[in-house]
Symmetry: C2
Subunit: 252 residues, 2 copies
């Protein structure tokens, strides 16, 4: 990221700048004519624009590209349990709280919320906004997610009475590697990332207990400063032959 | 669905008609002025428009509503295995083939592709396009998915040499029930469905082997005509206390 160190409110799209060196105004009076053509701030990250979000083939001149990135998955633990017992309005509040808190944390570290699916989400760090230390950025975002969600969900928890320990908290999984980024269906225009590295991050997240961040060895090796309080846990993950020695961070 | 029985190409948005009785042109010359304001055909289903897709609060005058719907999940079995062994370009082809074939099948039965996430997707039947027999519509879409994907993936399979039996096919899970439909984060504008019924459909899908469609008792009871060749399988699903007696359809 070369244009702005102010992660709060960039004046031009950081994605278009990093990927094409084209300055697309997204805030201020210069952004108005663009808005008239439907070019606005992206829902994935308000510092990128809808060109990055929906015109991948135009931005990269290819259907997909290989990129080194850090992938973060987060979801609400025990959501199936919760969804069978909670009234729908309250359940909607839990999901909204989760998504909003996660997005704030991810955006603060220049990641994008690429996919939301029910009580889960997938974030990408290092595309389209370039981040040299993308592994560290993702880990710090995960720590913010755990802190912010735990505070917000704690309030809900006390309203709900007795809940088992495995309910109403967040689990996170992170992995760094080469992924394929692009459009993978002829009818959707928003890009995503696929590949073994994406699946490993998802598998790690599925093993994370409430409050835990499970970090792959590849990610941990790139962020030794953040690993001082971590434990190591050997995990057998579905579809992956060798056990994975994940680093576990817990916000306690 | 009262306006058109031609599921191929509706002239007005079937969602806006069914939800608000407002005719929004989406094809033909009348659609042109709408297109100038960014109102085009939705990526979720080309017979609905971007008002249905992105303006849920405007359409329903609420943040979310409870609706009876049938939820379908489908994904590529053994994708983690595959993604660790296949080159990224080929992997992209597999995912694109899957998403395109699934979408055709879902649209042919008036469902919408609500979410795509890597090698998986979630479809909703009975919102925003109303379908009286939404359970049957989803089951028939699932049968089309299995038929079309198995033919398309078989071609890829023969190029790839020896693969284990659990790799390169599709699993589907279906459940019918009351779900909450709406926008569940303050920064995304596309609607989705959440709730226990959504999670049960996802859990069923996770248990489906290649070629299988796992159907909940609630869905099966609404479509007895389609169940004549089904077997029953008792499943213990994560987060759900009672075992579920799923009906299993296999395309053989």
């Amino acid at each position: 990221m070369t244009v702005s160190e102010n992660h709060g409110n960039a004046s031009i799209c950081l994605g278009c700048w990093d990927q094409m060196h084209v300055p697309i105004p997204i805030r201020g009076p210069l952004a108005l004519p663009f808005r008239a053509f439907g070019i606005t701030r992206s829902k994935m990250n308000p510092n990128i624009c809808t060109i990055c979000e929906r015109a991948f083939r135009y931005v990269k001149q290819k259907n997909h590209v290989t990129a080194n990135a850090t992938i973060l998955f987060a979801d609400i633990r025990g959501f199936t349990f919760l969804s069978e017992r909670m009234d729908p309005v309250r359940l909607g509040q839990v999901v909204s709280t989760f998504h909003d808190r996660c997005a704030e944390a991810i955006w603060a570290h220049d990641g994008i919320v690429n996919k939301q699916m029910g009580d889960g989400l997938m974030a990408i760090f290092n595309f389209p906004i370039r981040i040299d230390a993308h592994a560290s950025a993702a880990i710090m975002a995960a720590q913010d997610i755990q802190r912010q969600c735990s505070a917000a969900l704690q309030n809900l928890r006390s309203d709900l009475g007795d809940l088992p320990d495995h309910v109403l908290g967040v689990g996170v999984g992170i992995h760094t590697g080469d992924v394929e980024i692009g459009e993978f269906s002829s009818f959707r225009s928003d890009f995503t990332a696929i590949g073994g590295a994406v699946n490993l991050a998802a598998r790690l997240e599925s093993q994370a207990a409430i409050g835990e961040i499970l970090i792959s060895p590849a990610t941990a090796a790139r962020a030794p400063d953040l690993m001082t309080d971590s434990e190591t846990r050997s995990l057998q993950l579905k579809g992956i032959e060798q056990p994975v020695d994940a680093a576990v961070l817990t916000d306690r």
